[in-house]
């Protein structure tokens, strides 16, 4: 442990600040790097260029714009205005709860408990609640359709996601995210430990299913029917304006960042470098400087994962709702069940 003793309030403050950074920084990076720049370049244009060098301050301009706008509650939503207003906060809360279990370094974590991945998968469904509330309380037919689609879709994809993670859990022998990271970096491939043992290699099928489920969970194209701007205007977000829309927006992209972090923790070795490089064997050997470098490594891995998420988003058209359900139940779930069986058999065999 770091040899600094902090008062409880100081530690709490630090955690709150850390949580804000861990949610907002990925969101900002994802939006600028991918939504503004990568998308533009993929469409032979430059994206925002005026605010700051290469448009890097565009985010602040956008946030400022949204903050200035009026906070409108539609007339038909007035009786339930409180519920209408609380919905985006529920969505964002899910993101904050999610980031709590992500380990950023040997000692840099918010909480470290043994049900980590179980908890993460559980709280990620809280956002469904917020979306459903938003869709229902907007008193708008498009919002209603969007909210219901979102609920159906997120529940359908929760299952393959859990099943894909089970393979990792079996292999690592723990549900603690920190221990999963250690298991990957301290591991070895047939006696060669130069790369550790990232579960990407052994759980490639699981990784693919997890990423597809993440894509659906994040409601990114090809699974963006809840928003589906050409059909449902903007789905459950249609009636939101000003900073409540901003919160939805931050929630969407922060969740993209946080899910990518979880994906890199589960499959790419998280914050760690292969321990063999520095002669470490267990988590207690890891030097303190990894608490600074670790988050950067995790961040880099997150960027790489988000790149793929966004690349798919900008290239593909979207599924239809029934096709999506069929895909989840008839393709992804059987494959992930098979994956679990194979993993379990191999785990016992070796």
């Amino acid at each position: 442990m770091v040899g600094v003793e902090l008062a409880y309030w100081a530690e709490s403050l630090l955690r709150v600040l850390g949580g804000l950074v861990a949610v907002l920084l990925p969101a900002g990076t994802v939006v600028y790097l991918f939504l503004f720049k990568m998308m533009s370049f993929m469409q032979s244009r430059l994206g925002p260029m005026e605010a700051g060098p290469y448009g890097s301050l565009q985010l602040f301009a956008e946030v400022g714009k949204w903050l200035q706008k009026e906070d409108i509650v539609p007339t038909n939503a007035q009786p339930e205005a409180r519920i209408f207003k609380i919905a985006p906060l529920v969505v964002l809360a899910s993101t904050f709860l999610l980031v709590a279990v992500v380990p950023f370094g040997p000692d840099a974590w918010f909480t470290d408990f043994d049900g980590g991945i179980f908890y993460a998968l559980a709280v990620s469904s809280v956002s469904v609640l917020g979306i459903l509330i938003a869709g229902w309380s907007s008193a708008n037919k498009y919002s209603l359709l969007g909210g219901l689609r979102a609920a159906g879709q997120l529940i359908a994809y929760e299952l393959p996601m859990v099943l894909a993670v089970i393979g990792v859990v079996i292999q690592a022998g723990t549900m603690n995210l920190q221990k999963i990271v250690v298991a990957q970096n301290a591991g070895e491939i047939f006696g060669w430990d130069g790369l550790g043992n990232p579960f990407l290699l052994t759980q490639f099928v699981g990784f693919l299913i997890f990423m597809i489920a993440v894509q659906a969970e994040l409601t990114q194209t090809p699974f963006d029917m809840p928003i589906a701007e050409s059909e449902l205007v903007s789905g459950y977000m249609t009636e939101y304006s000003g900073f409540r829309f901003l919160i939805f927006f931050i929630g969407e992209f922060a969740t993209a960042g946080v899910f990518s972090m979880i994906a890199s923790v589960l499959f790419l070795g998280g914050w760690g470098v292969p321990f063999a490089w520095f002669g470490w064997t267990a988590i207690d050997d890891v030097d303190n400087w990894m608490n600074v470098v670790g988050p950067l490594i995790l961040f880099t891995k997150m960027i790489i994962v988000v790149f793929f998420v966004m690349w798919v988003r900008f290239s593909y058209p979207r599924f239809r709702e029934d096709q999506l359900q069929r895909f989840a139940w008839k393709v992804l779930i059987p494959i992930s069940l098979a994956n679990i069986m194979v993993t379990a058999v191999l785990k016992v065999a070796f």
Partner: protein, 165 residues
Amino acid sequence: MPKPKVPGLLKGLGVTFSTLVRTATDGAATVQYPHEKETPPIRARGVIALHEGNCTSCMLCSRSCPDWCIYIEGHKELAPPRRAGGAPRKVNKLDRFDIDYALCMYCGICVEVCPFDALFWSPEYEYSEPRIADLLHDKSKLGEWMETVPEAPDLEVGADKKGKK
């Protein structure tokens, strides 16, 4: 087909990625407007310029305009005779020549019907105004556009005659 079939999903990713690379290396297809500008073609119908000296206020343009956005007022004046001892000539004098660009459809009929070469197209396009009323250009403003009027372009091979305006 002997070629192995690449799944369409991967091909699509390839297209976007190659465009990404192309934009990064060769530059974007777009133009950063206030900083760089594209030059419109010579024939581009940007704004109508008026050569006041040629105008006889014959009202042909005003009458042929499909949405009647040209306003002309004139009066007759006596000009000194051409030859000494002749009778004084009657000349049409132009008082007002306004084009309301808020109404104009940029069809070009007025330029075409003008029998005295008083109206010309200029490719200039940057004359937007904060107030819609300012889009009514009077004859001095229309006269200022005259210097932006380009020479008529050469014609493609096989054309019958050299281009007029």
